[in-house]
């Protein structure tokens, strides 16, 4: 009897551990997925000031941006006047750039996707807000912090074996109300390469959202790129003909 009950006890402990383990894993997956969806929305329109800061040099661009789902996005520079009308269209893995002065569209080779966008610290891939962080990584909550009285989950994301990613690890900070606070990118040796942090959380576009995003390379203290949302609207959908080459050439609408 005694032996039997001990066995049952340990079996139930084991079952409980396994169950809670998977439950826990699913919870983290859901948390990350929900946070990405919250951050991205179904579709969005925004006007952003992008400030590129370098030692002894700084430059600010104003960009109109449209995004739809994880695949389609379009950016058009509206200021300074010299660069007005320069645009970038991204559909899935393909990307085009348009310059109004020469009135031509250039298709970017895939090898350029990890290059910086317009000389900033954001790569073309960063702008895409892709599903990669959900699909290609396994997540684990490593600790919790508090921020403005709310719980913040620190999540360590390791790439799945064979996932086509460039990072060796990512570390996410997600607040319990699904707001992304930071995303850190590590290389294969688990050294920090660059980090994106969101600050000034405000009501914008109908929900709480970090108004300012800063992307900074780890080894360069006085080089960073800052995005500040002037306007942000989340939408249910955007018309498909917005994300076409002809709309890239006529960004007036």
């Amino acid at each position: 009897m005694r032996i039997k009950s001990t066995i049952i006890f340990w079996l139930s402990v084991a079952v409980f551990t396994i169950l809670s383990g998977t439950l826990y894993a699913m919870e983290v997956e859901t948390l990350v997925r929900d946070a990405v969806n919250y951050y991205r929305g179904n579709a969005s329109f925004s006007i952003v000031d992008m400030t590129i800061h370098r030692p002894g040099w700084e430059r600010t661009l104003t960009i109109k941006a449209w995004t739809r789902g994880e695949k389609d996005s379009m950016f058009t520079i509206i200021a300074p006047p010299k660069d007005n009308g320069n645009g970038t269209l991204k559909k899935g893995k393909e990307m085009w750039m348009f310059n109004p002065r020469v009135n031509r569209v250039i298709k970017l080779p895939p090898s350029m996707m990890s290059q910086s966008w317009m000389g900033s610290d954001f790569s073309n891939n960063d702008l895409a807000k892709s599903d990669s962080i959900i699909d290609d990584y396994t997540h684990k909550i490593t600790s919790t912090e508090t921020h403005d009285g709310k719980k913040v989950f620190v999540i360590t994301s390791m790439p799945k074996p064979d996932a086509p990613v460039v990072w060796g690890m990512q570390r996410l900070r997600i607040r319990e109300d699904l707001i992304f606070l930071s995303q850190e990118f590590y290389d294969e040796d688990l050294l920090l390469v660059k980090a994106m942090t969101g600050t000034k959380i405000q009501m914008i576009g109908g929900k709480l959202f970090p108004r300012v995003w800063k992307m900074q390379k780890a080894d360069k203290k006085d080089e960073y790129t800052m995005l500040e949302y002037r306007e942000l609207l989340f939408k249910e959908n955007l018309p498909g003909d917005l994300f076409t080459l002809s709309s890239l050439k006529n960004p007036g609408r």
Partner: protein, 412 residues
């Protein structure tokens, strides 16, 4: 003439066949070393000159840190002031200015990342071979604007020919978007794949417009009359440039700093050459040691006799040593003459290295190589042979010291 010298001279020609063979071994070794060293130094000269003429010039003035980062914002703001400094430096053959920017270049259906270089169409040919490398179409003219010279491999990749259009998209010095439509005017081929695959040359003035350079350049390129002038030019340039009132000191770099890869490959080649020479010299040293040893052992009886009639071991050693030294000197002098003549012939005619042209092209080398006869290449080889032969000659001579006349006379 002392008796020892007389004896040494007579002993050499007493067995003339043996002496001639020994001399020939030395002649051959010296000749080979003179030729090989001249050939090696000659190929280095060709490598350096070719590379210097295609890319870097002998000395460059750039903004501090530009070489490592190639950042378009790191500029020499006032190239005219640098030109004024260069003008007064003796030993300068020619100089020009260049600008560079990494850009996207796109033909109707292909896009590549390319190094776009702005060149002064008039001054560039005096510094580099670019004008001669234009194989099809024409070189740039002074008043050209959106004309481009495209590397042959790049033109193939982009699938463009003379007269076709290329769209360029990059970032200007002020961070703005730089865009332009270029027309292919000429196609160049340097033979160096890397250069032909990713570079486009456009007129400097047009580059400065498109990339908002405001008159600034990235490199002021100086070509000296010869490699030997480089050090002096660099020093004078450093002194002169630091007196120009600039924000931030421009850096003065010579070709060794501009092309560390070239310097390393020369060092590597020199070391592998050195190993070859060591092996060659060891083989020759042993064959000479052998003949010297034989020459003394087969005369043991004779030494016994002359020592018995009063020759001291010291004088005998002196005479034998003089014998070896004379043979060595004759060999080396003949070797230098014949080696010099062979080298001189090929210096005029060149050596065709057929079948290795692809390998050579990677280093930008021509198929025909020219050895370069110099005081260094002649003397180094000869000196090494001299030292080794004399060292080998000492050992058998020292053996004579222990000869006892009575025992020696009875030796077979």
């Amino acid at each position: 003439m002392s008796i020892e010298i007389k004896m040494a001279w007579r002993n050499i020609w007493r067995n003339s066949r043996r002496s001639v063979l020994t001399i020939l071994a030395i002649v051959f070794a010296t000749m080979l070393l003179v030729f090989m060293l001249s050939f090696q130094f000659g190929s280095y000269d060709t490598m350096i000159n070719t590379a210097v003429k295609i890319h870097t010039g002998h000395v460059q003035v750039q903004a501090e840190g530009y070489r490592d980062k190639m950042d378009i914002r790191l500029v020499v703001p006032d190239p005219a002031a640098v030109d004024d400094v260069i003008k007064d430096i003796p030993g300068v053959e020619a100089y020009t200015a260049r600008t560079n920017a990494f850009s996207l270049v796109s033909s109707s259906n292909r896009t590549y990342g390319v190094l776009l270089t702005g060149i002064d169409p008039e001054r560039e040919p005096r510094v580099s071979t670019l004008k001669k490398l234009v194989r099809r179409g024409k070189y740039l003219a002074q008043k050209d604007t959106n004309m481009a010279l495209v590397g042959e491999l790049l033109a193939g990749n982009l699938k463009v020919d003379i007269g076709d259009e290329l769209v360029v998209l990059g970032q200007g010095r002020d961070g703005s978007v730089a865009a332009s439509v270029l027309k292919v005017k000429g196609i160049f081929s340097s033979g160096e794949d890397k250069f032909d695959r990713n570079s486009i040359q456009i007129p400097l003035g047009y580059f400065q417009d498109v990339f908002s350079m405001h008159g600034a350049v990235h490199e002021v390129v100086v070509l000296g009359r010869s490699l030997e002038d480089v050090k002096k030019i660099k020093q004078k340039l450093e002194a002169g440039v630091s007196s120009i009132d600039n924000d931030g000191n421009p850096a003065v770099l010579d070709w060794m700093e501009l092309m560390p890869g070239l310097v390393q490959s020369i060092k590597l080649d020199l070391v592998s050459g050195l190993i070859m020479y060591v092996i060659l010299i060891v083989v020759i040293a042993f064959s000479i040691l052998n003949t010297f040893l034989m020459a003394i052992f087969e005369r043991t009886r004779e030494f016994g006799v002359i020592m018995a009639i009063g020759m001291t071991p010291g004088r005998l050693m002196k005479s034998l040593f003089l014998e070896s030294v004379t043979i060595t000197l004759i060999g080396i002098i003949l070797g230098i003459i014949s080696g010099g003549m062979v080298t001189w012939y090929f210096q005029g005619h060149g050596i065709l290295i057929s079948g290795a042209s692809e390998l050579l092209n990677q280093y930008g080398l021509p198929e025909r190589m020219y050895p370069q006869l110099s005081a260094l290449s002649v003397s180094v080889g000869a000196c090494i042979v001299l030292i080794i032969t004399i060292l080998t000659a000492i050992y058998p001579v020292l053996k004579v010291r222990h000869l006892r006349p009575v025992e020696a006379m009875t030796a077979v």
